[in-house]
């Protein structure tokens, strides 16, 4: 599909670092997010949330809240007949019915004239709870006899895994064990593991733990809901997928989808956390109850306490190798803590653990475990950073133990195109080898001995690298490309632009049609007007929507050329687009302008059809994308403080459609990865209550904690990507935890297996080692 377009000159399109057209609006504060909307008659919503992680609701009395002047509606589950006790997803659990299953779960909702009045109304709602035993730790929760989380008979939710379209061929069993809180199980096996361990010379066993982390988007969830007199609902949403939001809200509220219009506003970050509906249904219900526009904006505290974070992942990993470095056996148990509702992408963990390097014998068990915590969602390459942290840390330790070069060791065993993944699917074309090789050529890697030796003033220095990736997502999509009466192009998709993808899509359209980028305008339409499309997630927007746009633009180009051929009495094959004209190749005077073709498609009584290119492809071939990262650090052994001196990101992007946008993705993803490595964790007490519900204590890295992030783009074309492009969003969040852990070991000799690699863990480990 990577067609090379024939034009007489290079158009201004693919491969250029064109700034996003919304830049000026963003730097002047003109871009509108949901919370910036302030329609007449606006009411403000607030939710009363449970202080307990597990409790029976004995009684709710809202009479005093309803009586407060300025309060327009107070709702409990009893007021919303469509709610069901066996809520399969968080979105369905609009308000708790008779039991709360995590601290922060909404119990009642208020709409009032002012936020302050709504908050006072919450104070006046009287809820009597009967506190129940809590399942706070996944290892305890998976044992038989643990306090149950889900209502009996609730089905596991595997839609997240499907949404990311990431892993085929893994059979996931839903609930078969006696342990009530194990909601999914999966197993991948090959060969004879016991025998292979018996024949191994070096066996290493570790338990890796990565806590729940939050996506950390800077704009909290927000939605504005309004109904018209005919019973149609409009939602202005901060979402990564307006059609998905529409489907979920329709399902929860039992409405036909065409009665709901979702208008995707500028999305202030999502990273997987704004895929699923969260506060949209309750806001819609409040708007209907009050007949007024209702806005709900989550507070940051609510985001942290009751958002949809990434699961805690615990991986018990045992590997065996021969003294000569031959890989023998891998045995793993991956436990994904999903919180109160099922939804983890269990298969990713299994496949990455056993597929990245070629283990002849393996046995990987995966468990999704429910606990009384907020349920989870995707976070940029869901479960890949956690899994790669385990497997890459392990590879590094094996190489050190064997005394072999860690890069050569990885390269020797890295699976190549055609090799069988753990799920028996073949690895597709990818740049894993190229990325790792490029990283190892970096002077920082070559000079790692010098760096280590340069430590002074009691500090320690080290270098570490790691390789990770993402298999790539797929989802059907659609796009149209129209030729306007003035010869400009109009591209329409329903795809929410969360990562600068619209400029890349415009570049694709420009190149595929054969005009300069400044002739192309791209619009993200709402769900009433745009072609159906998938989520902006899974690193698939450019890969899939890019193909739709490319095909639609080619389609529009062909229509244009056919119209011109008639006009010029020439064969289509002799025509080309040059600037703003279609000309006969070699006869530049013989031509017709795009504007005249566009105009004829819109003239009274004209017989020329308007140019409307359309494409609505579905896909079957993924494009795996690899990223390698290298860290040069200094450790203060007394305080455990890590100073990042340099950080390098190498990534295979297939084809860099807009290099500057890609660099931005690589840098942002790397810093999220570093946050997971160094400082971030949602921390819970033994009653499953969050102990760090603010951005002061949930520590995302600041500019002062970081060096410049160096980016190196590798281009190994994806056979089916638009112009060879691969997805770029997910891979950069994957490698840093292992790279930093490897660098810490290089500097201090201490191996850490629990994230975050906090000063406390580092300092106490060093103190106890010496």
């Amino acid at each position: 599909m990577s067609t090379v377009m024939k034009t007489t000159r290079d158009v201004k399109g693919i491969g250029l670092s064109i700034p996003r057209p919304d830049g000026p609006d963003k730097v002047t504060g003109q871009v509108q997010y949901v919370a910036d909307l302030n329609p007449r008659g606006l009411l403000h919503a607030k939710l009363l949330r449970s202080p307990h992680a597990h409790a029976k609701i004995v009684r709710i009395d809202v009479s005093r809240a309803r009586a407060l002047p300025g309060v327009r509606a107070v709702l409990t589950a009893a007021d919303i007949p469509v709610l069901k006790k066996k809520a399969p997803t968080r979105a369905h659990a609009v308000l708790a019915i008779d039991r709360v299953v995590f601290a922060g779960q909404p119990v009642a909702a208020v709409a009032a004239d002012e936020p302050a009045i709504a908050e006072e109304a919450l104070d006046l709602i009287d809820v009597q709870y009967e506190v129940l035993p809590v399942a706070a730790d996944p290892l305890e929760s998976m044992k038989p006899g643990a306090p149950p989380v889900a209502e009996l008979g609730t089905e596991a939710d595997t839609s997240e895994a499907q949404a990311h379209g990431s892993v085929a061929g893994v059979t996931t069993e839903v609930k078969s064990s006696k342990a009530v809180n194990i909601s999914q199980q999966a197993r991948l096996q090959r060969g004879d593991v016991a025998k292979a361990f018996a024949e191994s010379d070096v066996v290493i066993e570790n338990t890796y733990r990565v806590p729940m982390v939050h996506q950390g988007y800077l704009e909290p969830h927000a939605v504005l809901a309004q109904w018209d007199t005919a019973g149609n609902l409009t939602l202005w949403a901060s979402t990564q997928g307006s059609f998905n939001t529409r489907s979920e809200v329709a399902d929860v509220l039992e409405l036909p989808e065409n009665r709901i219009k979702v208008i995707p506003m500028e999305c202030g970050g999502g990273f997987g956390g704004k895929i699923r509906a969260l506060c949209e249904p309750i806001t819609a219900v409040l708007a209907r109850a009050t007949n007024r526009p209702v806005r709900y904006v989550m507070t940051r505290r609510e985001e942290l306490e009751a958002g949809m974070p990434a699961p805690q992942v615990i991986i018990k990993l045992k590997t065996g190798v021969k003294r000569d470095g031959t890989l023998m056996a891998l045995e793993a148990e991956a436990i994904l803590e999903s919180g109160a509702f099922s939804g983890a992408v269990l298969a990713v963990a299994g496949v990455f653990l056993a597929s990245l390097y070629l283990w002849p014998h393996f046995d990987v068990k995966g468990f999704e475990v429910l606990t009384h915590k907020p349920s989870i969602a995707a976070y940029r390459a869901p479960v890949a950073p956690q899994t790669i942290f385990a497997i890459d840390s392990q590879m590094e330790q094996i190489a050190r133990k064997l005394g072999v070069d860690p890069v050569e060791f990885r390269l020797r065993h890295l699976q190549r195109e055609g090799d069988k993944m753990a799920n028996n699917q073949p690895w597709l074309s990818n740049g894993g080898v190229e990325v790792l090789t490029r990283l190892a050529e970096h002077p920082f890697w070559k000079k790692r001995a010098e760096w280590k030796a340069s430590a002074k003033d009691g500090k320690l220095r080290g270098t570490g690298l790691s390789l990770g990736g993402w298999l790539g997502g797929l989802q059907p999509t659609g796009a149209t490309v129209r030729l306007n009466p003035d010869g400009t192009l109009q591209v329409l998709t329903g795809q929410v632009d969360i990562a600068g993808t619209n400029i890349a899509l415009a570049q694709i359209a420009a190149t595929a049609y054969g005009v300069d980028i400044d002739k192309v305008k791209i619009t993200t339409g709402d769900t009433d007007v745009a072609p159906l499309t998938g989520l902006s997630a899974g690193s698939k927007t450019t890969y899939t929507v890019g193909v739709a746009v490319m095909q639609a633009a080619q389609n529009a180009r062909n229509q244009t050329l056919e119209i011109a051929a008639k006009e010029l009495e020439a064969s289509v094959h002799d025509l080309e687009i040059d600037g703003d004209r279609v000309v006969v190749r070699g006869v530049p005077d013989k031509g017709v302008t795009l504007a005249s073709i566009g105009k004829k498609g819109n003239l009274y009584m004209s017989k020329v059809e308007p140019v409307l290119g359309a494409s609505h492809p579905a896909f079957s071939v993924q494009a795996p994308a690899f990223c390698g990262q290298l860290a040069r650090i200094e450790v203060d052994p007394d305080t455990g403080e890590v100073t990042l001196h340099n950080f390098v990101v190498v990534q295979d992007v297939g084809k860099a459609i807009n290099p500057a946008q890609i660099e931005g993705q690589m840098q942002g993803g790397a810093v999220q990865s570093l946050g997971m490595a160094l400082t971030e964790a949602l921390m819970y007490d033994d009653k499953a209550r969050l102990t760090n519900p603010s951005l002061l204590d949930y520590r995302k890295l600041t500019a002062a904690d970081l060096p410049n992030i160096e980016t190196i783009i590798v281009e190994k074309p994806a056979p089916h990507g638009p112009f060879g492009a691969r997805g770029v969003g997910e891979p950069p969040i994957v490698p840093a935890p292992a790279a930093i852990a490897n660098a810490i070991e290089d500097a201090t000799g201490v191996r850490l297996t629990h994230l975050p690699l906090s000063p406390e863990r580092i300092a106490l480990a060093i103190a106890s080692a010496s």
Partner: protein, 160 residues
């Protein structure tokens, strides 16, 4: 608990607005004056998205009450530059392709503008600390540093 009259200067113009005693400066700007450039990312001082200048100093506008700005001069991102007449920092942010989701950007630019006003030629370290109160989840800060560094070198008062 009647509304109170807030007299202050906003983006160089005298302003008089009715505010609630419990309105923060951020609330007053956004909800009562339609200046939605400053954003609320946390409401508790931890993210910097709401950064505005009060008497030329950067502050978290979610942490002071609107009435505490009485008699003072406030500048928001709307008062720094406009599309077509961008401040050198805004111009550099566009050209370096800094904004991704954009939510942090007004706050970051206001923090950077205050830094450059006080310290026209900051070191990389000084820039990093100057915007350390502004969390950005999208960019990794690298392009921000480049844009601010370049704007610092740009002649003062340049408009593009």
């Amino acid at each position: 608990m009647a509304k109170q009259v807030l007299n202050f200067t906003v983006n160089d113009e005298p302003a008089e607005v009715l505010v609630q005693p419990w309105d923060t400066l951020l609330d007053a700007l956004r909800e009562r004056m339609g200046l939605t450039g400053p954003k609320e990312g946390c409401g508790t001082g931890d993210c910097g998205a709401c950064t505005v200048h009060v008497d030329e100093k950067p502050v978290a506008s979610c942490l002071l009450l609107a009435m505490q700005a009485r008699g003072h001069s406030v500048r928001t991102i709307e008062g720094l530059g406009k599309p077509g007449a961008l401040h050198p920092l805004q111009d550099a942010f566009v050209r370096h392709g800094v904004p991704q989701c954009g939510f942090c950007i007004p706050g970051v630019i206001m923090a950077a503008a205050a830094l450059l006003a006080e310290n026209p030629h900051p070191t990389e370290e000084e820039i990093r600390y100057g915007i350390a109160g502004n969390l950005c989840r999208c960019t990794g800060y690298t392009k921000m540093l480049a844009a601010i560094t370049e704007a610092a070198g740009a002649p003062v008062g340049r408009r593009s």
